[in-house]
């Protein structure tokens, strides 16, 4: 007889005990298991080219150009349509990527090592704002920025991180949650801490002051520079909680711009998917919800691990996403306690008297109470090449939780 409560306790404890340390930066092909030149990893659950949304297609095109496999959009599309390119979810390769999440073999990636359980996770480097690959932009300047990141920033970060001996991302998050971050949409404080921690080591290992200045500026200007290591850290934490027999805890939530996908600790590698929804949000000048692509990205790994929208109460500066008042931000977090297994032992919220963040989504509670997880997210334009158009709030479709519950009943013969 399965003891669900015990299985969930095991799962959530493993997730919270995991200690993700940022250990290095290196080309994807050197570390990501199964990585090869014609393989592109993407965000969310599996998807074939025909069903890919605009931003994901744009990022695929950009990545093929970046890899030198195609010179133009047309060439890239032809290559894909000939079946020359393999696609796989980042999640199938211990990797996560924000928005389109497209990761190719020569891209530099962060290496996160979970010192408690020994597993690793990877994520690409954050490009900053404006026209960027992760939002499906693939113009020349986008590719140029990627090259600079791969050739200047990445190697320098690699040396600096190595020299530092590693950066404890869990500790960084604990601190940034006390500084107004929620770890998903808002990583201002975390990115500053990250930059501050790296700066001395960058200065120590750098050969060229010009490069140092550029890299420090890129890190310091980008309020999302720590997002990718944070996501990989969350991936390492949640992966260590996956595969616990009998557990109903969610270990993956991810979207590919077409489908929202979820995996559950006690239900193996099966994805539960349903059409992704368009986020409810605020838009950049001249854009409206008509321009928005359905929800996209692996960044929901933050909510999976107990931060992001779940820690909304800690981030009063972005309460506008939840309709405006600090009370609404508190309510957002309080609502998530209803569907989670534990209160995080390391991530706490000053505004709630240092209560731990709601951690470990239980599919039973989601279905029983009719409360789906909250997700804070960026919004991509629905067409390839345009980029980010806003940011807001979205929830996964209820169907994936219901399907997972039914699958659980079958698997465990209830």
């Amino acid at each position: 007889m399965i003891d669900i409560a015990k299985a969930n306790q095991t799962a959530v404890s493993r997730m919270m005990e995991a200690r993700p340390i940022l250990k290095g930066v290196t080309p994807a092909k050197d570390v990501i298991p199964g990585m090869k030149p014609n393989l592109l990893l993407h965000a969310g659950p599996p998807i074939e080219w025909a069903r890919m949304s605009g931003p994901l297609r744009g990022a695929v095109i950009g990545a093929l150009i970046f890899e030198g496999l195609a010179k133009t959009e047309q060439e890239a599309v032809a290559l894909v349509e000939k079946g020359e390119i393999d696609f796989a979810p980042c999640h199938h390769h211990d990797t996560v990527g924000p928005m389109a999440g497209v990761t190719s073999s020569s891209m530099m990636v962060y290496i996160i090592e979970n010192e408690t359980h020994g597993n690793k996770a990877y994520s690409n480097l954050n490009e900053g704002y404006g026209k960027v690959l992760r939002y499906g932009a693939f113009s020349e300047e986008v590719i140029a920025k990627l090259r600079w990141m791969n050739e200047s920033m990445g190697p320098l970060l690699a040396k600096a991180i190595e020299a530092s001996g590693g950066i404890d991302i869990r500790a960084l998050l604990s601190e940034s949650l006390h500084m107004g971050d929620e770890g998903h949409n808002r990583n201002k404080a975390g990115s500053i801490i990250y930059t501050a921690k790296l700066a001395p080591w960058i200065a120590k290992v750098v050969a060229d002051n010009e490069v140092e200045s550029e890299v420090l500026k890129a890190l310091g200007d980008n309020a999302l520079s720590v997002l990718n290591p944070v996501m990989a850290a969350c991936k390492a934490m949640s992966a260590s909680a996956h595969g616990i027999e009998g557990s109903t805890m969610v270990t993956t939530m991810a979207r590919n711009g077409t489908d929202f996908g979820m995996r559950v600790s006690g239900l193996g590698e099966q994805w539960f998917t349903a059409p992704a929804e368009v986020p409810d949000g605020l838009y950049f000048p001249s854009f409206t919800s008509k321009d928005a692509n359905p929800d996209i990205g692996d960044s929901t790994i933050t909510e999976t691990a107990g931060i992001g929208a779940f820690a909304m109460a800690a981030a009063p500066a972005i309460v506008t996403f939840v309709s405006g008042t600090p009370q609404d931000a508190l309510n957002a977090t309080l609502e998530m306690y209803e569907i989670t297994i534990a209160e995080h032992s390391h991530f706490t919220i000053p505004q709630l008297e240092f209560r731990g963040t709601p951690t470990g989504i239980d599919i039973r509670k989601v279905v029983e109470l009719g409360i789906t997880p909250r997700v804070n997210t960026g919004i991509a334009h629905r067409e390839a090449g345009v980029g980010q158009v806003g940011a807001g709030l979205v929830r996964p479709p209820m169907k994936i939780f219901e399907d997972a519950l039914v699958a659980y009943a079958e698997r465990y013969k209830l």
């Binding site: 399965i2 669900i4 404006g130 008042t325 508190l330 279905v367 029983e368 519950l405 009943a409």
Partner: protein, 556 residues
Amino acid sequence: MSVTKSEVRPGVYYDSVVLMQLQRKLAALPGVEDAGVVMATPANLELLADSNLLEAAGKAARPEDLLIVVRAGSEADASGALAQVDELLKQRSSGGANQAFRPRSLAAGVKNLPAAEWVLISVPGRYAAKVAHEALDSGKHVFLYSDNVELEDEIALKQRGAELGLLVMGPDCGTAIINGVGLGFANRVRRGPIGLVGASGTGLQAVTVGIHNYGGGVSQAIGTGGRDLKAEVRAASMLQGLRYLAADEATQVIVLISKPPDEATAARLLSEAQTAGKPVVVCFIGFAAPAEQIGNVHFAQGLDSAARIAVGLSTGAITPPVIERRTGYLRGLFSGGTLAYEALNGLQNFLHPIYSNVAIRSSQKMADPLHSQAHTIIDLGEDVFTVGRLHPMMDNDLRLRRLKQEVEDAETGLVLLDVVLGEGSHADPAGELAAAIASHRKTRSDIEFVALVVGTDEDPQNTDEQIQKLEAAGARIFRETTMAVDYIAARLAATPSATGKALQPFSEPLAAINVGVESFFDSLKAQGADAVQVDWRPPAGGNEALASILEKMKGR
């Protein structure tokens, strides 16, 4: 022709979310076609340029400057919009009321108000038992307003409640007043020394109102739900409530209200009432009360008289003596038929089961008048005994032989005899009876003998002498039936088996979690109670298949 106007605010910082919100508000102003509000970083300037929102002033802005751009149908609209920026920045979301979090699950409600001792449940009946079990699981008393709850669920809930030392009021409990706070439907009555337990909602309301109007006050009014006194439920909640009020220092008088309970339940309740150590007013509407008062138990004929009696008792409340209990059965050996009948009428409310050859209820009929069973009251003057014999008022032989038979029965604990004096009666009944009692007491010292002596000081047998003989033999004497009934009821009523854990004193101030009907929550708040409203919905949105899977997963 559109007009684009910019305003640069050097060195002003706002979070990007505030800026996006401002931009949305600007764009929504009349005449405005588009708006942009950004920190003037190169990336943002490019974004504005792409949207046709960048003109000379904007291009000159520096990254640390706040840049506000409006494109409008006319110069006046554009300037008008920019003029409103400060006002828009000050605006807060409409309403502005900080809506406190409303949990969806009882578990979250409990976390939000850990001090709550009470859970009010008014969800549809088919879900109510489950929610009530959850409340008990989290250590809370339950006020279960919902009706259409299965009887077996009620029994199970009350059984668990008793084991855990938690009260389950209801199902179908309409009213209660706990620590001065009305739960469900309740009248505003002053606090005072009268505690009530009622199986009838409006009955309880009527008596609390009566108490208030007669100048009295209420300590606690505990509801039980209408089925509590059914044989199957065994008055589980009323017994708990009664015990609570008996132990409660703030309560000096107890009132029990119900429609007539079944026989065994009434006996349980009244026996329990006798041990309360304070006056108990019983108002079982339609119940044939044996007397106005038996010991500390007062019988009221109606709701109003219950209130009046209770208030009267509470003003001069004296603590009635509690008579020590003993075990064994009553054997009443009567020579007088009506005396036997009157004794049975009183004692049947406390001693259960009780049998007689002059049964009032058909269930009391003896299988064989020659052999006593359980508590028994026999009229030895009945024809079956007197065929070919003298009436036992004239001849003690039959009674002496039956007395011997009872004494030889190990189950006998108390023997009641009537001694009817006067013309025509035996010349010295006490002489023979006392001798027998004295002799039996040598072999059965555990049997108590009680004699009901009916006679005057002018009767030929000399009543005083008769009494002295009986007393000398060790019998306890009463001069009229109800006094004897009082005593025997108090002595022999089954000591109620207080199963489970006693209720702990209810904490003040009252704090409660309301699951269901929102007006109950509003009413709690209006009364100054600490309360949390749970916005309950059917599990899995009412999807039966999913709910059944969830149910199977429970307890795993």
